[in-house]
Symmetry: C2
Subunit: 335 residues, 2 copies
Amino acid sequence: MSTPASRVLGNAPLGEFALIERHFARAPRATDVRIGVGDDGAIVSPAAGLDYVLTVDMLVEGRHFARGAEPVLLGHKTLAVNLSDLAAMGAKPRFALLAGALPSSDSAWIASFMRGFDALASRYEVDLIGGDTTRGPLTLCVTAIGELPAGSAITRAGARPGDVVYVSGRLGDAALALAAASGSIQIDASLLPALRNRLDAPEPRVALGLGLRGIASSALDVSDGLTGDLGHILDASHVGATIDIAQIPCGDTLRSLLRGPDREIALECLLAGGDDYELCFTASATMRPRIDALADALGLSLTAIGATRAEQGLVILDEDGRPLASPPRAFDHFA
Amino acid sequence: MSTPASRVLGNAPLGEFALIERHFARAPRATDVRIGVGDDGAIVSPAAGLDYVLTVDMLVEGRHFARGAEPVLLGHKTLAVNLSDLAAMGAKPRFALLAGALPSSDSAWIASFMRGFDALASRYEVDLIGGDTTRGPLTLCVTAIGELPAGSAITRAGARPGDVVYVSGRLGDAALALAAASGSIQIDASLLPALRNRLDAPEPRVALGLGLRGIASSALDVSDGLTGDLGHILDASHVGATIDIAQIPCGDTLRSLLRGPDREIALECLLAGGDDYELCFTASATMRPRIDALADALGLSLTAIGATRAEQGLVILDEDGRPLASPPRAFDHFA
């Protein structure tokens, strides 16, 4: 586990996103490309009425997962992080391609990995349609394709001033598991398995994403930390927001740590911890009844944590209603 | 350069393909998946009349390219090997997603890499629509999407007994460059740059692929070596073939080596050398005039090297018309 401290405590602002902005973002040539580089997924329109969402994620041993990680969990997570990107745009998952560099052709390892991958694929009716295998340092790369009615994708760019900011489920558990694993924080051993499960076997919020079509004005998945990820919505939508720490949903363990001597680390986990793969979204206040109904239908909490406004910038209020002077920053691979 | 000898001289038959067969091949669930794992690309049908071809290739430093490889050439090759897969199915390249693990955020390196990538993308009007960057051992993974009229893809499974077997351009140059670089063979220094260019900057045969729609009965790109790659066509089509070494197009350097003391290595380069990215295809003998016209139109040689037959197996005849007892085998990442 080479990176837990930097994942939890990483504090450089720009690297990865500046890199993308400088080298990879470009205006698409073709008119059937609706969204290119820069959202959770790209959108192309193969036919009238139909959009495809395409997304790719690469997981590297020692970076995204520990050496010796359980292959069955890794197979799950490798697909889950991609389905999470599709969910964040409201797309129904359809197809996946899997490329992997493997140190050896360990058939038992691969079989176990594919059990985890296939179990998740099966639940969401995803077809694995292609791939590539080669020898190399353990690296996994999934491309996932989802579909939705043309124009119904939820992007990062649709938030309007006065929208309510929501997050699904609860945040910070995965980062807390990493912090405990790295020794940055002491957690009662009996509490660890549940936290660890959030880190190792995240559940992509696919049904939520589908349900948010026509309701959410913007959305993304919280993979790098709430502060940074919400910041992408604000940047893309040209709005600002104020959120309340007291409103951000988290588990009892994290909530009590926020009141103790490890508050700083707990705050990092809550605001800058990645890997929860919950959705953060915005919606007009008029959508409140539909959002409450969706939460009931899914058995998943959807919590209002603040609101957007015309004036840019993200203000995070502490439990006493005072703005945090230096909020923790999101994880960045090149910080 | 950790692998040139194994790439040129690798001789185990099954590893990578047995792996794919055992762990990754499966019948698609959805009816709009026309072809899943096992061809150059997958085919899905988003709408009546339209098919998308999807393919993914992962390139690993020290495996597919040498440490310190020129980034501009690497950018070209990373995309080229994927466009080659699309070409092999007759698809017009449309979109690409690029995921990369990079040891550092070296902006000059990335800019140079993207110059090579973009120059090729621009020539074929490919839109880079998404990606992912992370830190890790240098690994590049491109997913490419092409399109074609529904049902017009050229697969590996369409060869019929009595078809003529063709290859485009010439084979073995890339493998010869690798053999020279590894010291397995001595090549006059003045001849190296042209060979090296075939290895470092392969040209995907996109126009040929498009031209072969309705002409070729089967096709693939020669990435792992003619013997193994043609073997995939024969397996998928349930036919056999006989090909003539004397007919296989190659450069003067390789042709003269075939007549000298380095004949065994030259034969390996010709029959089992990967990385040329020419197309190998089959077509009914009645297509000969159309194939000759296509070769003229493209300024690219298309050479008949043998014929398929009902009886399975691949027979390779030497220059005296005698079957090779133990033909060199194709490159396999897990051999």
